[in-house]
Amino acid sequence: MLLIKLFFTFLGIGAVAFGGGYAMLPLFERMIVEQHGWLDRSLFLDMIAISQMTPGPIAINSATFIGFQIQGVIGALVATIGMITIPVILISLVSVYREPFKNSKVVQAIFTGLRPALVGLIFASVFSLARDAVFDLWGLILFFVFFGLLAVFRIHPILVILISAVLGLIIYA
């Protein structure tokens, strides 16, 4: 029963996961953390850090991690397969009927709405997740430091995560 629920949850995420990577985190957060309570917010954030620091697509890493957490190896497999089922069907179709899709005015029009919506979605998940990550003055200071390192100095995300782990140890241990 749980496996079926897991499969359909990830099927739903995969079906509307436009924009890749971080753009699909809001969906993950609402469905996995809030609706089903399969992960708490802290573990969800840990999972994102691990997904970023290990090779491979972040969405696959996340699906594997969440599935494993719920139902072991079989859960990991079911979540990952659920996630890619609809996209892979669409890709197979488009690989055959490619020309009408490629320059499709309809697709372009839909994306004029989707692209900015993804911005709002990403900030909505920041808003929701920050409560369990930035809970003191140190958190707030670190947030601005890390944002500066990433956005202004363009330091590699993996390096920033490593720095944050060291600072976490110094401040909180």
Partner: protein, 184 residues
């Protein structure tokens, strides 16, 4: 030149195993392997496929691999390519997840992760910030604020908000075309 299934599998496996930072970080490696090194695809074709993959839902690296696999070796090729690119992350995460749950209670691990969680918030914020800079026009800001309000304040489900915003984008574009047409 026809690529063997084994070579297709190992090409994607290699990229899946050694690319950090998610799907977008893989794109240049795909290009080097399939366009520049072996010439299985030409440059235009490669970017066509990339644009198509970006406009479909799902994991971009998987979409891309499956598309290339199908193109080079049919359905079996698509399966082999998708499996190759996903397998390393799947296995690595299994090992880490099993390991993590054994150590998560450790106070030093917990302290380190307290710092890490803040950097993850900064990472997601930065992703949003970069995407925002590409959509700074009035309509884009309006859509972003509206979406934020619907998801974060009204607490609508992102699944339906995404569908609604896609439909809204389509309708406003069409209406804009009709209005422009009428004014000529």
């Amino acid at each position: 030149m026809r690529i063997s299934l084994a070579k297709l599998f190992f090409s994607f496996l290699k990229i899946g195993a050694f690319t950090f930072g998610g799907g977008y970080a893989m794109i240049p490696l795909f290009e080097r392997e399939f366009v520049k090194r072996y010439g299985y695809l030409d440059e235009d074709e490669f970017y066509d496929v990339l644009v198509i993959c970006q406009s479909l839902p799902g994991v971009i690296a998987i979409n891309f691999s499956v598309f290339i696999g199908i193109k080079l070796r049919g359905k079996v090729g698509g399966f082999v390519a998708g499996l190759g690119v996903a397998l390393p992350s799947f296995l690595i995460i299994l090992v880490i997840a099993a390991f993590l749950f054994a150590y998560i209670e450790n106070p030093y691990v917990e302290a380190a992760f307290k710092g890490v969680r803040v950097s993850v918030i900064a990472l997601i914020f930065t992703a949003g910030f970069r995407l925002f800079k590409q959509n700074k026009h009035l309509f884009g800001v309006f859509m972003a604020v509206l979406t934020f309000a619907l998801v974060a304040m009204v607490r609508l489900h992102p699944f339906f908000v995404i569908l609604a915003m896609g439909a809204f984008g389509y309708i406003t574009t069409k209406v804009g075309e009709v209005v422009r047409h009428a004014s000529h």
